[in-house]
Symmetry: C2
Subunit: 184 residues, 2 copies
Amino acid sequence: MDEGLSTRDKLVTVAARLFRQKGYHGTGIAEVLAQAGVPKGSLYHHFPNGKEDLAQAAAEWTAAMLVRVVEDAFTPAVEFRAGATTFCHKLAKLFDLSDSADSCPIQALIFDGPDGAAFRAQAATLFDRLIGAVARQGERLGLEADAAREAAETLLIAVEGGWTLARARRSSDVLRSIPARLYG
Amino acid sequence: MDEGLSTRDKLVTVAARLFRQKGYHGTGIAEVLAQAGVPKGSLYHHFPNGKEDLAQAAAEWTAAMLVRVVEDAFTPAVEFRAGATTFCHKLAKLFDLSDSADSCPIQALIFDGPDGAAFRAQAATLFDRLIGAVARQGERLGLEADAAREAAETLLIAVEGGWTLARARRSSDVLRSIPARLYG
């Protein structure tokens, strides 16, 4: 645990990792508290609805992290394909750093999460935020707005599906193969 | 519950649906038994390791169902693109018939399943069975073996990712958009 993190950030990052590894229903609050080294009172101070609020915060945190990966990948690129290729390679590295049995950081939090319409709506918003980040980069790199949006959606769809197959095979090669699949 | 089903099939189909709706960890054995109308003894007769065995059987059942969807979609097709397009439309219909919050039939059983290497290995096998079914159809439709395999993998990756985005948006439109994304 990074001692420089605030209590809230400790809770969110530990929860995000556990949800990824064990799913929302498979993760117990006691385990989050133990691994974060945080007393129960602090959890309810920061997250009055407990696990459900924590899931929402962890989903936000994960989406923000993935937007940063998009920015880092595309900023040095001079064409969309190059940015997309770097993005896929960065995700492959992320996959290799996590246990390959882990869920995709997005899927874990969005789908095996709390029931309820609010959480589902948040899921769609976070996905669109990520697609929007890629689309903005596409426009910067010269694509028309519609084309940039299409290219961004297709890339995110392929990356989500690629992570799933990578998990099944326990190999990040699938993620690295995506640019060749999409752009020939 | 279809009364014509065997006890084993009742257990497997009910479990497959519940795992899809609530995840593996979120599904209780008591709920499976109640909805299948089957006594506890029968469960352990057919599935000595209980929920874990049931998850394995449900994953097998789901993969077999999806292979049938592949066959139905591709058999009348005269080129790969047409078969792939029908396949995506059939999956969109499947999505519309299920609660749109449900997990992809494959992902639900493969990833939010029991921990352990055996189940993970089965996941990879089932994915490859599905990819193999599409690849055989590709070869029948004139693709070289390598190209058929590539086309099959790309289609399955896009369909997995498409299901994920469709869930977030609660709309099967993403699944119908996949052929245009992949084949222009």
